[in-house]
Symmetry: C2
Subunit: 207 residues, 2 copies
DNA sequence: ATTATCTATAGATCTATAGATAATGC
DNA sequence: ATTATCTATAGATCTATAGATAATGC
């Protein structure tokens, strides 16, 4: 019971951390702000996560677990570095699910904002999330390539290899997120992503 | 002469600011670090830019000036929110120049990192660059759409309207920058961008 | 006068450590 | 014993203001 309550507390704290990072980024996030959000003193928070970096690491590990479907099978990625969704479990996403993933992300601006902010920060020097994102993108590109290969074979309708298309697929997902976060009225993220899938297929359907 | 020296100093300071932001983001950048890089005390720096935010604003205004070709004619955008290049001057980019722009960016990781970090941070609340990027992306999408329309008319070979293709074009440029900054060995940014242009044209050439 | 810089410093924060107190589980 | 929290606080920073000093340009 004590253990269970402790786990609950940690989950609460991680949720609050996601919120605070969405609002201020990791560097701008303070332990005090996270603590306040869960009704703890800053020092009380440090009982659960001994340093600020440990808190970030826990957030990223959580993300990894969630992305890989909770089952803990590594290798397959999720849809994107800055969005998330239901884990696959079988090794590679089915292409049609990627559209749903983007729609799902469009309903969760908070979490998209958290990871878009982290991704942006991660390119700066010595950022504690940099290695995480580097590794993750390698995985995600590989998973996307596998998905595309399963769907289209070694050459896509547009003429690209699955590997080269995968880079673009991931780029589009991330890039759309920034444009959409900054101006959700102006950018229909799921529609745009559908447009891109249409290009890969060599034809376009209406949104 | 005093005026000229002053302008020089300001330019030096802006250059140093770009570097420090690339390394630590805007929130992580300190006036002291910028000052040190130009051999001034932190308080000496504040003689030129009275607040930290004024320094950021100057960086962004500089960028705007550079992007619009230095001539000060508004309306046309540059290639991208997180890269830069020679200004157009005539209102819209020619499509073939976009590829060169990406190649140019690939030779300047520092500046790409500065603006990628800023873009990432800008999605957080009350970030002083948020409005800048929102406005700029609106402009850039419009300029891209105009470019595409000039090249292909109202329907691209792939079937998209210029406006809908423009969103993707910008997304690809940004998204590629993050992947490339995190892992330049793994991602050939210019090649990937060429692949995307090929998709828009409905055919693909080798890199 | 104005410009360029500096020293001193106020006033805020921030992270993390130390050590106390109370409750829970053996 | 262990767990959960708290108060107190050290030690670092950071931004920005105040005010002095020296040089430059009329």
């Amino acid at each position: 019971m004590a253990r269970a309550r402790s786990e609950e507390r940690r989950a609460e704290i991680l949720g609050a951390t996601l919120e605070v990072i969405a609002e201020r980024g990791y560097r701008g996030a303070t332990l005090g702000a996270v603590a306040e959000r869960v009704g703890l003193s800053q020092q009380g928070l440090l009982h659960y996560f001994p340093t600020k970096e440990a808190l970030l690491v826990a957030v990223l590990e959580d993300r990894d677990r969630w992305d890989t479907g909770g089952g803990g099978r590594g290798g397959a990625g999720d849809g994107d570095g800055a969005g998330d969704g239901p884990g696959g479990g079988s090794g590679a996403w089915r292409l049609e699910l990627l559209g749903s993933l983007v729609e799902y992300n469009a309903m969760r601006p908070g979490i998209v904002q958290t990871f878009s902010a982290l991704l942006g920060e991660s390119v700066t020097e010595d950022h504690p999330a940099r290695e995480f994102f580097t590794r993750r993108y390698t995985q995600v590109r590989a998973a996307m390539a596998a998905t595309l290969r399963a769907e289209y074979g070694d050459a896509l309708p547009g003429g690209l290899s699955p590997e080269r298309a995968a880079v673009l697929l991931v780029a589009v997902m991330d890039g759309l997120q920034y444009q959409w976060l900054l101006d959700p009225e102006a950018v229909d993220m799921p529609e745009a992503f559908g447009d891109f899938l249409g290009l890969l297929k060599g034809s376009t359907e209406d949104g």
